[in-house]
C-alpha cells in the first residue's frame, strides 16, 4: 500500500516535470521556428528591432558567456582542487568553500547591481562586454568551484595510493592522477557554468548593456540573447514578439546543444576513468 502511494507520488512528480519541460520546448519551437529565418541569424536588427536579425545578440551572448566561463574556470578549477585537497588542513580552503556556498545563493540581479558598482563605475570599464563578462564570471564561479570540489573529492583513495606506492609525490599524484580521474567532472562543471551564464539576463542588464551592433572591442557594449528576449517581448508590436520567440528558440538550442556536448565529452573522457 505504502509502496503504491510512493510510486504514485513519484509518477506525478515525473509527469509534472516532464510536462512543463515539454510545454515550454514545444511552444518555443512552434512560435520560434515560424519566426526563424536565415536573415535572423546573420543580420543586425533594423527599425528598432522590428526588422533584420539577431546577430548582435547571438554574437554578444557567445562572447560574453565564453569570456565569463574562461575567467571563472581559470579561478574556479584551481580553487575547487585546492578546497578538495586541503579542506581538512587549511583554514583558507574552508573559508573559500564557505564563500562559494554563500555566493551560489545570491540572486543574479544582485550580481548585476554589484557588477555595475565595481566593474562599470569603480574600475571604470563602462557599460561593456568586459564588465558584463566579469560580472557573469562571478555568478558562474561558485558553480565551477563546487562541482570541481565534489568531483575531486570523489576520486577514490586507492587510486592515489597506487601512485604514492610507486614513489609519486603529493603534487605528482594531484597533477597526474587525481586530475585525470576528475577531468570529465571538471569539464562538465565548466560547460554547466557556460550554460547557466548563457541564460542570464539580470547580471548583464546594467553591466554589458545592449547594442544593436556586434561589439567592436572589449570595452564596447554588447547585446545578448536573454536580454533580447526581454526587450523584444516588452515592445508593443506583434512582429517584435515573434522575434522574441525566435531569440528564445536560438538560446534554448544553444544551451541544449551545450548540454548534449557535455554529455558526449563526459562519455568520451570517462573511458579511462576508474569506477
Amino acid at each position: 500500500m505504502e509502496e503504491l502511494l510512493i510510486k504514485l507520488l513519484m509518477a506525478i512528480a515525473t509527469v509534472v516535470v516532464l510536462g512543463f519541460l515539454l510545454v515550454i520546448l514545444v511552444d518555443i519551437a512552434r512560435r520560434g521556428v515560424s519566426a526563424l529565418s536565415l536573415s535572423m541569424l546573420i543580420e543586425l536588427p533594423r527599425n528598432a528591432g522590428r526588422e533584420g536579425g539577431l546577430l548582435n545578440a547571438i554574437v554578444g551572448s557567445l562572447y560574453i558567456s565564453s569570456l565569463a566561463t574562461l575567467f571563472s574556470a581559470s579561478i574556479g578549477v584551481p580553487a575547487g582542487l585546492y578546497i578538495a585537497e586541503f579542506e581538512g588542513k587549511s583554514r583558507i580552503a574552508r573559508a573559500a568553500s564557505f564563500a562559494a556556498e554563500v555566493l551560489s545563493g545570491i540572486p543574479s540581479i544582485v550580481f548585476g547591481v554589484y557588477g555595475f558598482i565595481i566593474f562599470v563605475i569603480m574600475l571604470n570599464m563602462g557599460v561593456s562586454l568586459l564588465a558584463g563578462a566579469l560580472t557573469l564570471a562571478c555568478l558562474e564561479l561558485p558553480i565551477i568551484i563546487k562541482v570541481t570540489e565534489e568531483t575531486v573529492k570523489l576520486v577514490p583513495s586507492h587510486i592515489k595510493e597506487a601512485a604514492l606506492s610507486l614513489g609519486a609525490t603529493r603534487w605528482e599524484v594531484l597533477s597526474k592522477v587525481t586530475i585525470r580521474q576528475a577531468v570529465p567532472g571538471i569539464a562538465t562543471a565548466v560547460l554547466l557554468a557556460f550554460a547557466r551564464g548563457a541564460g542570464e539576463a539580470a547580471p548583464l542588464m546594467f553591466t554589458s548593456g545592449y547594442s544593436n551592433f556586434t561589439p567592436s572591442s572589449l570595452l564596447s557594449p554588447a547585446a545578448n540573447l536573454p536580454l533580447a528576449v526581454y526587450y523584444l517581448i516588452m515592445m508593443p508590436f506583434p512582429e517584435a514578439h515573434m522575434r522574441a520567440y525566435a531569440a528564445a528558440f536560438i538560446l534554448t538550442i544553444m544551451v541544449l546543444s551545450m548540454n548534449w556536448c557535455s554529455r558526449m565529452l563526459f562519455k568520451r573522457w570517462s573511458r579511462y576513468v576508474v569506477k
Binding site: H158, V177, Q181, Y272
Partner: protein, 267 residues
C-alpha cells in the same frame, strides 16, 4: 639523496641480524590505539614470506610500515627501525618516495590508474625521470612480460586499464610495480578479490618472481600460504607470535596460539 657522510652515519646503526629487511622494535600507533607491538624480525632475501594471522591482527599495518605507506594514515605514529639493506627507512634523511620505488606494493583490490594500459606501466618510470620513448617501450614490454600479461594486451596497449578483467588488472598492477625496478614487492592479499583461475595465475607468478625479488605477502588463506611461502610470520593482536621456515611452521609449530590458528580454532 644521501651523501657519503650521512651514509656512514647510517651504517653505524646497522642491524645485527642478516636479511633483506630487518625490523627492530617496530611499534605502530593509530592515535591511542597500539596496533603493532614491538616487532623485531628479519625478512630473508629473494624468498616468499607470508604474513598470516586472524583479521585485525595488524598484517596490513605491518606491510604498510615496510614502505612507509603507513604514514599516509592520519594519526599514525611509528617508532623503531626498519632496515632495507642496512638503511633505516625511517631515518629523517631518507626520502619516502625513494623507499617506495625500492619497495613496491600490490594492493588487495586491483587499483589501476585512470589511464591506458601502457601509461599505467610507464607511470612509475616517468615520474622517476625516464622520458625516452624507446626506453619506456622496452620497460613496459619487459614488465608486462614479467607479470605474464604481455601476450594478452600487446595489441591493445592504448586501451583503458579499466577495460581489463579483474585478474588482468591485478597482473597489470604487478607489472606497474615491477616497472620501477624494485627490490622488494609487498602484496596485501593480492588474490582476495579474484576468481580461482586468476588467483592460481597470480600464485604461480609469485613463485616465478621470487627469483629476482624479495616478496612479502599478506594472506588470509592458509592453503595459499602453504603453496607459495618459504618463510612464515604469524601475527596475533599486533604481536609477533612465531616466525620461521614455512615447513617448520606448518608441520611443527611451537606456540599454542599458532597451533590453534593453523587448526582453524579462530580466523
Amino acid at each position: 639523496m644521501l651523501s657519503s657522510k650521512s651514509l656512514k652515519n647510517l651504517q653505524h646503526s646497522r642491524p645485527s641480524v642478516q636479511g633483506k629487511i630487518v625490523v627492530e622494535n617496530l611499534n605502530v600507533y593509530f592515535g591511542k590505539h597500539h596496533v603493532l607491538k614491538n616487532l623485531s624480525i628479519a625478512i630473508p632475501d629473494r624468498q616468499v614470506t607470508a604474513i598470516i594471522g586472524p583479521s585485525g591482527c595488524g598484517k596490513t599495518t605491518f606491510l604498510r610500515s615496510l614502505n612507509r605507506m603507513i604514514e599516509l594514515v592520519d594519526g599514525a605514529k611509528v617508532t623503531g627501525k626498519v632496515f632495507l639493506d642496512g638503511l633505516n627507512i625511517y631515518s629523517p634523511k631518507v626520502d619516502s618516495s625513494d623507499i617506495r620505488r625500492r619497495v613496491g606494493m600490490v594492493f588487495q583490490k586491483p587499483n589501476p590508474l585512470p589511464m591506458s594500459i601502457y601509461d599505467n606501466v610507464a607511470f612509475g618510470p616517468r615520474i622517476h625521470g625516464i622520458r625516452n620513448k624507446k626506453v619506456l617501450d622496452k620497460l613496459v614490454e619487459e614488465s608486462l612480460k614479467a607479470a605474464g600479461l604481455w601476450d594478452e594486451v600487446k595489441n591493445r596497449l592504448k586501451d583503458p586499464a579499466v577495460s581489463l578483467s579483474g585478474g588482468q588488472q591485478q597482473r597489470l598492477c604487478i607489472a606497474r610495480a615491477l616497472a620501477v625496478n624494485p627490490e622488494v614487492l609487498l602484496m596485501d592479499e593480492p588474490t582476495a578479490s579474484l576468481d580461482p583461475i586468476s588467483s592460481a595465475k597470480i600464485e604461480s607468478l609469485i613463485r616465478e618472481l621470487k627469483r629476482k625479488y624479495t616478496i612479502i605477502v599478506v594472506t588470509h588463506n592458509l592453503q595459499q600460504a602453504m603453496r607459495i611461502a618459504d618463510y612464515v610470520v604469524f601475527l596475533f593482536m599486533g604481536e609477533l607470535i612465531e616466525h620461521g621456515a614455512a615447513d617448520e611452521i606448518f608441520t611443527s609449530p611451537r606456540n599454542t596460539k599458532t597451533i590453534e590458528y593453523l587448526r582453524g580454532a579462530f580466523s
